[in-house]
């Protein structure tokens, strides 16, 4: 980690400057994380009077629990669908805006604002749109022979939260893809055009390969987003149901811990989630931020 060549010589001051952030980090991040690890190895009696060390019992139970395993695969389906949907749409919008240099600014404004919509509001809006009594979508779906009821049909409930989560994330991917496309050297495009390749071919043979670092970065960020930031969408619309069809891993931690008060299991789940974030963060920094030296 590098510093300035010239620095201030002061013994106490740097610690004072760091104190507020370190204090908050230790008290509200490191300590609770440590507590989660600790209680994932313990079992508390029903009255909270004594705790027993139970080793890996909670972890073992989790991996034998069909509910947890299905939450795991469901979360994977959810994360991959949202990431794919919002990245493909974001890229398509970015490629279109990039083509129209003059009017691009207006379209950027028209497309970026969903970023600012709270996940819970996004959830409620799409829920309303798909609501079986009042919604617009079931009305149209009925005409083409699809009966929509996400209160009973788990797959439809999953589709609902995928749409709501992807809708909110498109603008984010769009901005990053647009920035990536605009940094593609114009001379490459001109050379390819002189060689006779059309816009579509240029996009797939020049722009897309050059976008691969952006794509990888966005992939990690999007997976992280779907896993952790979509809690409000699930909580406000499907509440994990019907029959757990939309219970993602994060939602299960909340259900088992905060609502079910099953501390040991919830802590073990938290620890597993922390490991997932660690891997994602590590991959992001290792492969995406290689040029940055900390």
């Amino acid at each position: 980690m590098n510093t300035k060549k010239t620095t201030f010589n002061n013994r106490l001051l740097p610690y004072l400057l760091l104190a507020p952030q370190l204090f908050i980090t230790l008290v509200f991040f490191i300590w609770p994380a440590g507590q989660a690890v600790k209680s994932s190895f313990e079992r508390e009696d029903p009255f909270g009077l004594s705790t027993v060390f139970v080793g890996l019992l909670h972890y073992q139970r989790l991996f034998e629990d069909p509910n947890y395993l299905s939450a795991l695969s469901r979360t994977a389906v959810f994360a991959v669908s949202v990431t794919a949907l919002s990245m493909i749409l974001g890229l398509a919008f970015a490629a279109a805006v990039d083509r129209l240099m003059r009017s691009g600014k207006i379209y950027t404004t028209l497309l970026v604002w969903p970023y600012a919509v709270a996940p819970v509001v996004a959830g409620v809006l799409w829920w309303f749109l798909f609501n079986s009594t009042t919604g617009l979508m079931p009305f149209f779906l009925e005409k083409i022979g699809i009966h929509w009821d996400h209160d009973l049909n788990g797959t439809q409930a999953m589709i609902l939260i995928i749409i709501a989560a992807a809708w909110k994330q498109v603008s984010y991917n769009f901005l990053f893809f647009l920035a990536g496309l605009q940094s593609v050297p114009q001379s490459l495009m001109e050379a390819a055009a002189i060689d006779g390749s059309g816009p579509v071919k240029r996009f797939f043979t020049i722009s897309l390969p050059l976008l691969s670092p952006t794509t990888f970065f966005l992939f990690i960020i999007n997976v992280n987003y779907t896993m952790f930031d979509t809690f409000p969408i699930v909580d406000a619309t499907t509440v994990g149901g019907p029959a757990q069809a939309t219970t993602t891993l994060v939602y299960k931690v909340y259900q088992d811990g905060y609502l079910g008060l099953n501390l040991g299991s919830s802590s073990a789940q938290s620890v597993l989630l922390m490991m997932i974030v660690m891997v994602l963060t590590f991959v992001q920094f290792r492969y995406v931020e290689r040029r940055v030296q900390y």
């Binding site: 510093t3 300035k4 010239t6 620095t7 201030f8 002061n10 013994r11 001051l13 740097p14 400057l17 760091l18 507020p20 952030q21 370190l22 908050i24 980090t25 230790l26 509200f28 991040f29 490191i30 300590w31 609770p32 994380a33 989660a36 279109a96 129209l100 028209l110 497309l111 970026v112 970023y115 600012a116 919509v117 996940p119 509001v121 809006l125 309303f128 749109l129 009594t133 009042t134 919604g135 617009l136 009305f139 901005l175 920035a179 495009m189 001109e190 055009a193 960020i221 930031d229 809690f231 409000p232 909580d235 406000a236 994060v250 931690v253 909340y254 989630l273 922390m274 974030v277 900390y294």
Partner: protein
């Protein structure tokens, strides 16, 4: 554009306009629904044209609101959301600019360790450590308080990295000149670093304001006193009706009002917003 292809340009425009219409659809429907009465909404799919209950619905939300759900009125909750968002902006920026200053401009034992402790916060989203964090906040007696709502959310590794990256680009001569002139560290910070960081601070504020405004899980856990309810919590309470019908026209009016401030910020401060977004996430 390398060559002129009018038809492709036309298609591109058509695609973007269609895309915008699809993206805007749920918001359009929400605005329309907020102008109808509940009878119209319950009698079939939402009409596509505005109704005549616009003033009535918004007045109800802004003044009496949903007393039935035990919620205070919208303006009170909007004020709470605003206080929470602003406190998070100020808190995050001030602690992270100070720690970035310490890490870049001083050499001291445990500097590396301090940096890694801050770095670790990236890996501990609140969703992951909810139970123990909730317990600590409860033990500290911070439930139902502004401190409990905001302080646990204000540590930010990304903001610290952003300021650190920016400070690294400031030429060393600045510091040397300041030292020749006899300026101490805090004077250098106040008179040179802070003014130079103005755009970064502004860009970061836009992003952090949105981050604070849309917080959901944390306020839900920490507050049980309606006096501290934020708009985001209200959204859920308004749609969780035990018996009777959801008052969709009010829910949609509340959604529109809850969306408005951050969307306006994004639209009117687009340059700062994009800058803040691209810089903090990297």
């Amino acid at each position: 554009m390398v060559e002129n292809r009018p038809f492709l340009t036309f298609l591109t425009h058509a695609f973007l306009i269609l895309g915008f219409l699809v993206v805007a659809l749920p918001v359009y429907v929400a605005i329309i629904a907020s102008t109808h009465d509940i009878a119209t909404l319950m009698s079939g799919p939402v009409p596509l044209l505005p109704g005549s209950h616009f003033l009535e619905n918004y007045r109800q939300i802004l003044t009496s609101a949903s007393a039935a759900n035990g919620l205070p009125n919208y303006s009170h909750m909007a004020l709470n959301s605003l206080i929470m968002a602003v406190a998070i902006v100020i808190g995050k920026i001030s602690i992270s600019i100070l720690s970035a200053f310490a890490i870049v401009y001083f050499r001291f034992p445990f500097r590396q360790l301090a940096f890694w402790i801050i770095f670790v916060t990236l890996m501990l989203p609140v969703e992951v450590r909810i139970m123990p964090t909730y317990k600590i906040v409860a033990d500290l007696g911070m439930l139902n308080s502004w401190a409990g709502l905001t302080v646990p959310l204000i540590a930010s590794a990304t903001a610290t990295f952003l300021f650190r990256q920016f400070f690294m680009t400031i030429p060393d001569e600045m510091l040397e000149a300041a030292r020749v002139d006899g300026a101490g560290p805090m004077k250098f910070f106040r008179d040179i670093l802070l003014p130079l960081s103005r755009t970064n601070i502004a860009a970061l504020s836009v992003i952090l304001f949105i981050y604070g405004w849309v917080q959901y899980l944390w306020p839900l856990l920490v507050t049980t006193d309606p006096g501290y309810y934020t708009l985001m919590m209200a959204m859920k309470r308004m749609v969780t009706v035990q018996d009777g019908v959801i008052e969709w026209q009010l829910v949609m009016a509340a959604s529109v009002l809850a969306m408005l401030p951050p969307i306006l910020i994004v639209i009117f401060m687009q340059r700062l917003f994009i800058r803040g977004l691209t810089e903090t996430e990297k």
